[in-house]
Symmetry: C2
Subunit: 542 residues, 2 copies
């Protein structure tokens, strides 16, 4: 049995594009003599379509797409993911389904049983759960058809009360197929393979796994489609962050292929390039702008964006103030020389003076404080948005996760931007990714990596005046955000009590800033944004 794995990048709601691509790949697989071609979960709609699913116009478009695809699916079978309408009155109106196509028609449809509703996932918002995995015979082989989370209950603290494959294993399938929409994070590959292997070991069956690739705003899909033999060895694996059409006969015993797992920052680097490229590509934009401060965050974003879009398409603007140090310009210019971008400098002093004059009466002699600091950041934000509006460039945000966590940033100032590129990287990760980018040549100047971080909003200011050292801060933040540990558990790990209580308080009190922040490219298992929903008005650890 020759199976084709179609690891593709879809565009949410773009039925013409998605349907066309699926039909094209069915043709390719057929010409290659495949018996079956497998597409990812919700391939026809893109994932996640979110509340577009509340519109019958949208779900009818999904049904229409599946019909169109079925019409051309002859001489080969295909499994295609799509929402489908629940024919029963009781329960949610939709299922998250896998359609089996062949002979120019829909042969069968199977529904996802385990609906991830945590972190970035909201599937029970839309879908009625199925009750078991699908069973179908394709080219004489009995296959069990599952959808993503259906295989994920094999954990030590299972989220669901049953395993959909248990319900059909008595029918003796010969192969497990899993179609997925499983987003990237730097731990995900390891976890995903472990889960798939647990299923293979439990059911003693080979497995074909087909995932999305490409980014949808914050969510990045790495692909990683694979075939595992019944012994749990990976015998075929798709390249990550690329579309791929691969062939395998999963019933034939094949040797384990050698897999060199990429390093954490190699993965993050690929993911962020994919995230930037698809954000621009799918929105139909070519060019980006950003503020270049001379600091490490904007240097990293410039390097990443230049790689993703081409240096000629990334237009950094230097916005010095009287508080800017000399090296902020010289270091920036060295970076630009290394990368090859166009550049502009706009001094903010005169505008800042005009603001100070205009607010003199209302400020009424109250001494310089955060109001004047924020004013400078907002002047920069306004200038960058002016560039964005006038030239049609998207402004890239340069905030990092440590700053976002503790609110060390100005809303409508340095928190401006259409996309947050490094908002899921702690400051210590920012340095590590810079070092990764410099692994062969010094792209980001050493001076930028060596100097003490500063917002340069008042004379001699350093981040360390306001914040704990980043190594300590990031370690506590990681326990609180990623590991969801409370203050008691974090203290038990030996952290300083005042560090912990101050950090948690800052995180909780600054929810209001993150609420209005740009979408963040997600690379960690717990990013700020749609995967972490916190009350804004609350009094807890704050």
């Amino acid at each position: 049995m020759k199976i084709a794995l179609a690891q593709l990048d879809f565009h949410i709601g773009n039925f013409e594009n998605n349907t066309g691509k699926i039909i094209d790949f069915i043709g390719q697989a057929k010409r290659a003599g495949a018996d079956l071609v497998v597409f990812p979960e919700m391939a026809v709609s893109g994932y996640p379509p979110l509340d577009f699913l509340d519109y019958t116009h949208f779900t009818r478009s999904c049904e229409k797409a599946v019909s169109e695809i079925a019409n051309v699916c002859t001489g080969i079978h295909a499994i295609v993911g799509s929402p489908s309408v629940n024919p029963v009155l009781k329960g949610k109106n939709l299922f998250n389904s896998a359609f089996l196509l062949g002979d120019g028609k829909i042969l069968d449809v199977f529904h996802k049983s385990l609906l991830p509703t945590y972190d970035v996932f909201d599937e029970y918002r839309y879908f009625e759960p199925g009750k078991k995995a699908g069973i179908a015979t394709v080219a004489g082989v009995k296959v069990a058809i599952t959808i993503c989370e259906d295989l994920w209950n094999e954990e030590d603290d299972p989220l669901y009360v049953f395993c959909p494959l248990d319900e059909v294993i008595g029918e003796r399938p010969q192969l497990i197929i899993n179609i997925a929409a499983s987003p990237f994070d730097y731990q995900h590959e390891h976890k995903r393979k472990a889960i798939l292997r647990r299923n293979v070991n439990k059911y003693k069956l080979p497995l074909v796994y087909v995932n999305h690739v490409g980014a949808h705003t914050d969510l990045i899909f790495d692909g990683g489609s694979l075939v595992m033999n019944a012994q749990g060895s990976i015998v075929l694996e798709a390249p990550v962050f690329q579309e791929a059409l691969m062939y395998a006969d999963p019933l034939t015993i094949k040797p384990e292929i050698e897999i060199k797992e990429k390093s954490k920052f190699e993965k993050i680097h690929l993911a962020l390039i994919c995230g930037i490229r698809d954000y621009f590509g799918k929105l139909g934009f070519q060019k980006a702008t950003l503020g270049l401060s001379g600091g490490v965050d904007s240097a990293l974003v410039l390097a990443l964006a230049s790689e993703a879009l081409g240096p000629e398409n990334v237009f950094p603007v230097m916005l010095p103030s009287p508080y800017s140090s000399d090296h902020s310009i010289s270091d920036s210019l060295q970076l630009i020389k290394n990368l090859g971008n166009p550049v502009e400098e706009i001094a903010i002093s005169e505008i800042y003076e005009a603001f100070l004059k205009a607010t003199r009466s209302v400020f009424n002699g109250i001494p310089f404080n955060v109001a004047e600091e924020n004013m400078q950041a907002r002047i920069r934000g306004t200038l960058l948005m002016a560039v964005s509006n006038k030239l049609g460039y998207i402004l890239l945000n340069t905030s990092n996760k440590s700053e976002l966590a503790v609110g060390y940033g100005t809303l409508y100032g340095d928190m401006c931007g259409g996309l947050s590129v490094i908002g899921d990287l702690y400051k210590t990760d920012v340095y590590a990714l810079c070092r990764y980018i410099n692994r062969e040549n010094e792209i980001i100047p050493k001076e930028i990596l060596d100097k003490a971080p500063s917002a340069e909003l008042r004379p001699g200011q350093k981040d360390s005046d306001s914040l704990p050292p980043y190594e300590q801060l990031d370690a506590v933040l990681f326990q609180y955000i990623e590991n969801q540990k409370g203050p008691d558990e974090i203290l038990q790990q030996g952290f300083d009590e005042s560090l912990v209580s101050r950090t948690l308080k800052l995180v909780n009190k600054n929810e209001y800033k993150r609420f209005q922040f740009a979408p963040i490219l997600r690379v960690s298992p717990k990013a700020f944004g749609r995967g972490r929903r916190m009350p804004l008005v609350a009094r807890y650890l704050s």
Copy 2:
């Protein structure tokens, strides 16, 4: 049987406050001779605690609060809503529970079966569903205990496959109790009473309903706790938008009380006042600022905030430009005279000139366009935030729902602010609410209501230059947003084709602006914000 209904305002995560309040009201009810006092759903934590529920420190605080309350609950019974830990390994780790307290201990615990996971609700994100309603005997009366949504499956297109009360009705309960966290919208009272009455009529039992009151960021709870007799007549009803402790013997037949349902705008007015007041009160702020343009939106927000916080605590700032009309200042001053606020004027011309000078080189002779318009809006945003930062006031946003829908607003400009007061009111609703506020005296000057809407960002600009007439626009938006009708269905209603396609395209293309917008006080059944989740990068009707 004397039951006390405790309709209270809780504070999310503030266990000291919430526990103290519950214990205080148990004492009051006991002194009044009640057999049972009923508190709302998730009373100990406040609702919704969102991802605080992922922290065991938080859920242990809930358990501790329930224990503390149980300890003092003697000589009376109490039903208190709280999350509880699922003792079974499989499934989600928590239940949404109703604790029955008495004799100084926890007597029983019952779990919510139907978990709302749509619109603003995410309950399956956290909770394992129960399997049936609770049954307990209190003061010799057998009661069926349900939690909010448990009664809401009695609709024509039910979202769930079973009704939790059906599972226990064979045990012959004499009374239904429902503890709720059911937020306000202007249609909700009608819908809620109809649903409760359907249950009463189906089961032929009297019903006691106890809901939250007060606001949590965007969500506003009106209370509306009530007792219905077995014939479906309301025999007791709490005042809306107020805390209340009321007593009833639901087993004694009482006459129907006369209820005068408030008008739509009377309700919305009360809700917005409650929303503003609780946002400030629960965050610990007293004072607000806002930009006063002379237009109807900022006039309405000023009037509402002045009522909620006191006119002396609301500080409007007039920010005229060369494009501002004469009447923008004179109309604003008349409004302030009517309301009694302090006021400040800061002209933006010099700052605007400084920006134009600074951007001359990068703008490179490209004619005046949206870049310069947005620049003015962002200068105003920066000035208002400077006032906010310097004086410690919260900036109130003044955008309306029509603008937000079609993106007729400047991100980081007039879209600034900590709280959107009227972001769930279409422009036509804004006028209607102004007329309601003016029902006895002219608070909002007639001139403001009579003039044509304008952003005044270029000479002679009118909203109608860029947008369809608001009556038409709002009607299409209502079909698309509230009624979730697709283009085909809206066209069938007789709307103009170009109006429909243009409007839907604008709504979808401007998702990125709303993504970064402030929380919006929710008064309609479908507000922008957490209840409407749309892909940002997509191509559908756009």
